[in-house]
Symmetry: C2
Subunit: 202 residues, 2 copies
């Protein structure tokens, strides 16, 4: 879909407000009324910007889905031993999570009650499948410990990475206020890669 250029700024800030409201109240529990109140717009100006609540959800989820898939198309994700490709994808996935935190948080909480939500779940499964494929291939190439099951490794990796939305904030003030941990995204990505690939004992 295309939006007139002069409205770009407004749609951007509307999206920020919407993603916060959707995450707090749940998508099902959010009305256009709620979105109007939170954005300080009248319901009719809201409809100037967007056609429906679902369109806003789709735009918000694309902010998470598109950069995640872009990672899987980067050269370092496509060439070389699977273990190196997996390492690249994990590192970049953490960076995308840090950069798109509100949008990824929403993506991880989607239930699948509407067409857009089902689309988002489908995308998540597609991404998970790519990572699972890399883990399985690394096992096949003999670079994954033989005593680890690739399917379980994939689940544990995602468990570790997806937990970031609960406890990580790139911004210091927000982190302190809510007992979250603050860290530069690249350092966070380093920590995840070290722990996952080389373990606590190093």
């Amino acid at each position: 879909m295309s939006l007139p250029v002069r409205r770009r700024y407004d749609t951007e800030s509307l999206l920020e407000v919407a993603v916060a409201v959707f995450t707090e109240r749940g998508y099902d529990g959010t009305s256009m009324e709620d979105l109007a109140r939170a954005s300080g717009l009248s319901k009719s100006s809201l409809y100037h910007h967007i056609e429906s609540k679902e369109q806003l959800l789709r735009l918000a989820l694309e902010r998470a889905v598109e950069p995640l898939f872009a990672v899987t198309r980067e050269p370092a994700a496509l060439e070389g031993p699977a273990m190196k490709r997996l390492e690249h994808v994990v590192r970049r996935e953490v960076e995308v999570l840090a950069a798109q935190l509100p949008y990824v948080t929403l993506l991880l909480r989607v239930h699948g009650n509407t067409e857009v939500e089902r689309w988002a779940l489908e995308q998540r499964r597609g991404f998970d499948k790519i990572v699972a494929g890399l883990v399985a291939r690394a096992a096949h190439e003999g670079d994954l410990r033989a005593d680890l099951d690739p399917a379980v490794v994939t689940r544990l990796l995602f468990g570790m990475i997806n937990s970031l939305v609960e406890w990580y904030r790139p911004d210091g003030a927000a982190a302190r206020a809510a007992r979250h941990t603050r860290m530069a995204p690249a350092d966070l990505a380093d920590a995840v890669v070290r722990l996952a690939f080389d373990g606590l004992r190093g």
Copy 2:
């Protein structure tokens, strides 16, 4: 609180029903009416068994909290190098999660709107603090990789372990029906310990 012995079986099955309903609808969204319907009891027989919805919640959460704390009092959690103690606690924590899955799932979803929920959150923080203490001590003793921040390691460990409630089922049929992963609890605990302590590369 003490329950008459002859009611033990009923309270046990009531607890199983209640934890399933609380997890599905949320504690706030569950009425005594809902609990009566789900358990097939009349509201008045329900009140024979329990005083309140909150009492059921407390009993259910104790099923998660007590065995988790019991782990931290086991000899292997108290003696020896912190890294070995941490490994023991992580392994046993996974086993407790597997054994008490519905109760731990409820514990991880509690919000803190009532006194019992705030008590549960307090217990979780207490448990997290013990693990964080072991990680920090392992770092101090030189057994944790120097390039990993103990606070971040603790968060990632919990992220990995707590994700089990989303994707792990000890029971085969339930696992297959919902695309979950099945595995014996001891094997799962081994996998978590290997990945966390020695990494994918082994």
